[in-house]
């Protein structure tokens, strides 16, 4: 099942642990805040993604199933 990594930008404090754990999927902007690839996480990176979620000191990351956005 393909999951996407979702960041809560309000909770995020720019610690940057996630980018260290998963540099293939998460980059840091000029101010140290994560830029998370929004596509479904590839199989081979899923374990690292779970670790990034677990290690985030602000619990700002989540692994979500694909959601049909009813964006209004």
């Amino acid at each position: 099942m393909n999951r996407t990594l979702r960041l809560d930008p309000i909770a995020c404090d720019g610690h940057g642990l996630c980018a260290e754990i998963l540099p293939e999927w998460i980059a840091l902007d000029d101010w140290g805040y994560p830029i998370v690839d929004g596509r479904p996480v590839p199989q081979q990176l899923e374990e690292h993604a779970r670790r990034a979620v677990k290690e985030c000191p602000r619990i700002a990351l989540r692994l979500d199933r694909q959601r049909t956005t009813g964006a209004v």
């Binding site: 995020c12 000029d30 805040y33 964006a71």
Partner: protein, 411 residues
């Protein structure tokens, strides 16, 4: 003078005078009797949501979301819905929603009551910013004249640019800080007190009130195929008559200028869409949501004004108005503002760097504040290239900062 509401069928408004057609010359609010004499009663028998879908009405608060779909989403959610009238109008240069609430309140209230009826809502909250005292008084008096089947609550929230964002508004109404929350969940599924909530801009509800009376075809008889109907525009800057105008969507900038009595001095550029909008030098630009009209603010910048200085001031305002919750917005907007200020003061800043920052902040906040600010800065950089060159070489150009974009005195 009051007369019994007319029972004859009232003919649908012709021409672009729809929301503003019943305005009184003396500036006093239109009473319920006057309102009904002008527009007739609202006795909707058909399906409001289907009517709104057919009309093509989109939100007039800047988001431009199809109104019928918004009501459908609320209707499909679990629990008894609540309606929130967004009358906050946090952008300093915008006066259209205050204009409606202060002069033709019954249009907005009709729309809110009709939406409530269609959605089975029993409570309607009318949200206004702290500074809108006159408008609140007018709305309170208008509510006293009415007998709707809903319970009205007239609420005051803090003034501020981001307060109008729907989750920030709902937080403020719940007594929490007026800062946005992450979506999902969306207000249509879980909003005020956890109920499915329709947050709708005041002007959108006014259009809804007329669509419910005169139908979808009538609404579509003006405007464009993609963007039907009329919209309110707040025009300021170097024009003879600043103020709120009702235009057919697709009207050009120059047609709007003509309605306002023309320019009072040579003009350099136009800001279309307010602080989240973009600059243009093209007078033939059709005013539409697709062209960035947003919540309808248009500013005519004279040549004696420096677009760079004016824009730097707005960029700083937008940075200051950030809720400060998300790193990219808090840091990025401050960096963009400082960058524009540095260019304006003659210190060359790499344009590439500013453009990269603008790209980096968009889409990375809990709300669209950084996106709007980034769009504005990017537009400034591309439109005022000549001024930028002059400022880099000589620390100034021929214009000065006249505070045109941040002027609140115009009514």
């Amino acid at each position: 003078m009051s007369s019994a509401p007319s029972r004859r069928a009232v003919s649908a408004p012709l021409g672009a005078g729809r929301l503003l057609a019943a305005l009184r010359r003396d500036g006093h609010p239109v009473s319920l009797d006057e309102h009904l004499a002008h527009y007739g009663r609202l006795d909707l028998e058909s399906d409001l949501i289907a009517l709104l879908d057919a009309s093509g009405l989109r939100g007039r608060g800047g988001g431009g979301f199809p109104t019928g779909r918004k009501l459908s989403a609320v209707a499909g959610a679990r629990g008894r819905p609540v309606i929130v009238v967004n009358g906050t109008e946090g952008e300093p240069a915008s006066r259209k929603d205050k204009g409606l609430l202060g002069r033709v309140p019954h249009l907005v209230l009709d729309g809110a009551a009709a939406a409530a009826e269609a959605l089975g809502a029993r409570h309607v909250v009318i949200a206004t910013g702290r500074g809108a005292r006159t408008e609140r008084t007018t709305v309170a008096r208008a509510l006293d004249e009415r007998r709707d089947r809903v319970r009205w609550r007239l609420a005051t929230v803090p003034d501020g640019f981001v307060v109008g964002e729907e989750t920030a508004l709902l937080n403020a109404l719940a007594g929490a800080p007026a800062k946005p929350s992450l979506k999902p969940p969306f207000p249509f599924e879980r909003g005020l007190d956890g109920a499915p909530t329709l947050v709708q801009n005041a002007e959108t509800l006014a259009h809804l009130a007329l669509i419910a009376r005169f139908g979808a075809s009538w609404f579509r008889s003006l405007g464009t195929e993609a963007e039907p109907g009329t919209a309110l525009v707040t025009l300021s800057g170097a024009v003879a008559r600043t103020g709120v105008y009702e235009i057919e969507l697709g009207t050009s900038v120059s047609e709007l200028l003509a309605q306002a009595g023309g320019a009072t001095e040579p003009l350099s550029a136009f800001l279309v869409g307010g602080y989240f909008g973009g600059w243009t030098r093209d007078r033939n630009l059709p005013l539409t949501a697709a062209n960035g009209l947003g919540a309808g603010v248009v500013v005519a910048l004279p040549t004696t004004s420096c677009g760079l200085l004016e824009s730097a001031r707005v960029a700083r305002y937008l940075a200051d108005e950030s809720a400060g919750q998300c790193g990219p917005c808090t840091h990025g907007l401050a960096a963009l503002a400082a960058g524009l200020e540095q260019i304006a003061s003659g210190q060359g800043v790499e344009r590439d760097r500013l453009e990269r920052w603008a790209r980096q902040v968009a889409g990375r906040g809990a709300c669209r504040h950084p996106d709007g600010a980034a769009r504005f800065v990017t537009s400034t950089l591309s439109t005022f290239q000549d001024e930028i060159s002059l400022h880099v070489r000589r620390s100034r150009c021929s214009g000065s900062d006249r505070g045109i974009l941040t002027d609140r005195s115009g009514r």
